[in-house]
Amino acid sequence: MAKKIGVYVCHCGSNIAGKVDCEGVADFAKGLKDVAVSRDYQFMCSDPGQEMIIKDIREHGLNRVVVASCSPRLHEKTFQQACARAGLNPYLLQHSCIREHCSWITADPEEATAKAKHIVEAAVERVGRHQELFSREVEVLPDVMVVGAGIAGIQASLDIAKSGHTVHLVEKSPSIGGHMAQFDKTFPTLDCAACISTPKMVAVSQEPNINLMTWSEVEDVSGFVGNYTATVLHKPRYINADVCTGCGACLEKCPTKALSEFDEGLGMRKAIYRNSPQAVPNTPVIDGTICKKITKDKCGICQTICPTGAIDYEMKETREVFHVGSIVLATGYDTMDPTPMAEYGFGKYDEVYTALQFERLNNAVGPTEGRIVMKNGKSPESVAIIHCVGSRDVNYHEYCSRTCCMYALKYDHLIKDKVGHNTNVYNFYIDMRCFGKGYEEFFKRVQEEGVTFIRGRPAEIVQENGKLVVVGEDTLLGMNVRVPVDMVVLCTAMEAQKDMAEVARVFGVAQGQDGFFLEEHPKLGPVSTATDGVFLAGACQGPKDIPDAVAHASGGAAQALALAAKGTVSISPTTSWINPDICVGCKVCVGLCPYSAIEFDDRRQIAVINEAMCKGCGSCAGYCPSGAAQIKHFNENQIFDEIDGLLGLLPGLPEIIDETGAQSVQARNVITPGEPA
């Protein structure tokens, strides 16, 4: 069948037309081989724009379409669907980018127009080689896995479970609640964190559709959207959760102590412990690295006193495999360790705390039972709160951690409230960022409570005469200040979890420059990732306060539910194909395939692709010495023709690679006359 190509050049308002002569490009395309129709239009993605393509396909009998507009990552699907509506196979479209990769980045209009012509020519060349391809529909397994049971993971799990779908919720700590469980109050309403989070935690443990697995980690994930297989490692708890009543007798008698991670190193915990009395599940866990019974086979007192015989020192780690349709990552954040910032003396001076430590000081079940006191047991007479420690700092994290201004204000209020209104509180800030609902009002309220705000990040903290002296500059007054205080709180940055890179690898998602998981689109795809069927929830995508994390988690849950509710998903047909007539059976591709999607047919002595497992990465096609393996929609002919178009080779010149030197010279002279021959 003769090729009839339609070319559509989009102005994108002035986004493209401001630099590129779109009319000129469309005119140029008219002269290209097999082009039947070539038009430019203000907004190709608009309804009239799409209608124009549909009408042309029907009236002119177009069998190939080229759209040159924005990035195919934005609108390729739009135009594929327009083609499909007109009865044309969507893979007979080539969508090329003349906006992000041309008009927006090129200074000179003439150069931009020339580049756009090359891009359109390449698209016309390539689309001539396109073939009809058909997507496959595959079943989506109904269960969903949620990884991480902080407030975001809890919210996502509850949302999904409510719909009747089963959620496998995996948490690496012994109990759920994440960082929120460590907090005392929440800004700006001053709700008690436990009062609003424990009902959710209890709901998780009581929800029949949630399979809660604490003290567990996802070790391996394989499969694809709709059909993921996840291996979960259950670490040994040394306590039989089915028998344990959570009475806590063991916690009192255990003689071995360690610094409590949950109390941020301010208090001690036993070798057998649980994070807080409200912990969900309330089954304790034995720290196998310090327990005397497990390490040295001594002690064993917990087993003696346990009334239900729940202690089992012989417990081993186990693995369990789950088949799920989609995965929601809610792995949360870490707070930065300020020890490397030696100027602030964390770890050197007793009375320098991180924000999370201060949170534990405030908490009624924390090491001081909620009293804000110094290590010597006295109340501080003055406190300095230093904002942006590690945030908005090119040496650590360039981004704003978004929560510190607000929790600093909360601390201001709590200090005034708990220690007394005569306590001096100094905030050293860069800018106050109080952007949320009710946040600015809270800022005003705290200002009226008599808190001092000093604009400027302190240079250092020194100890003089038993006081900590914060040395810095008040940039509004333009003078140096030295503020003696009893206690310093560092508002440390929220950063990506330490094992984020490893987790990203297990789930096949990418990390952004800031280390957090990378979303599909910063504005329009904040919960999906480049991996279909893996969604994000909460602060693993970037710093978030509680309302934002909860909203984000509900978004992630909705995406997972959309997949599960429909029950099927269409899989791209751009897989590999090995031409049985060409394959010589060298088997190299079999070893190269990262998905084990290539089998060797012993009878025919050729390699065969299993399309259900192939993801179209092209490892085989990039190597295949005989050219038998080809990725559909990215095959050799298509790429070769695209190269020719981009290099502006005129039609009629040899396209094949094994051309003679003389032909190369000819080709080269044709492209750029005047260059040395």
Partner: protein, 141 residues
Amino acid sequence: MNNEFEPTILAFVCNWCTYTAADLAGTSRMVQQPNLRLVRMMCTGMVDPKYIVKSLLSGADGVLVSGCHPGDCHYINGNYKARRRVKLLNEILPQFGIEKERVKLTWVGASEGNEFAATVNNFINEIRELGPMEACSMAVV
């Protein structure tokens, strides 16, 4: 003559990292010299060395291959395969009179728009410095 030389460069970039970074560089209006044209691949692992050779023979003065950072490959390890292939190609090209600097492999992650723009501009400058491809016109290949 060399002062007027404007190189033509092709870039084979992976859809998930460098192509996305190119989009981001565009959205952020990071001006780049117009000499480079992108070929979208799904993964650098599918870049057959013959695409690179073909580009050089057909008039490109330089070829950039750019994908996800090591360990970040959307397809597990395609970028490692690209690294091996480009390394081998770099060893073979000088035997045909083609400077190995004409073929470059870089890693640009999806969020690194600024890194992409800098990589493009630097590579164009490097090739401009190197001058036009003599090997083709000398009919060595």
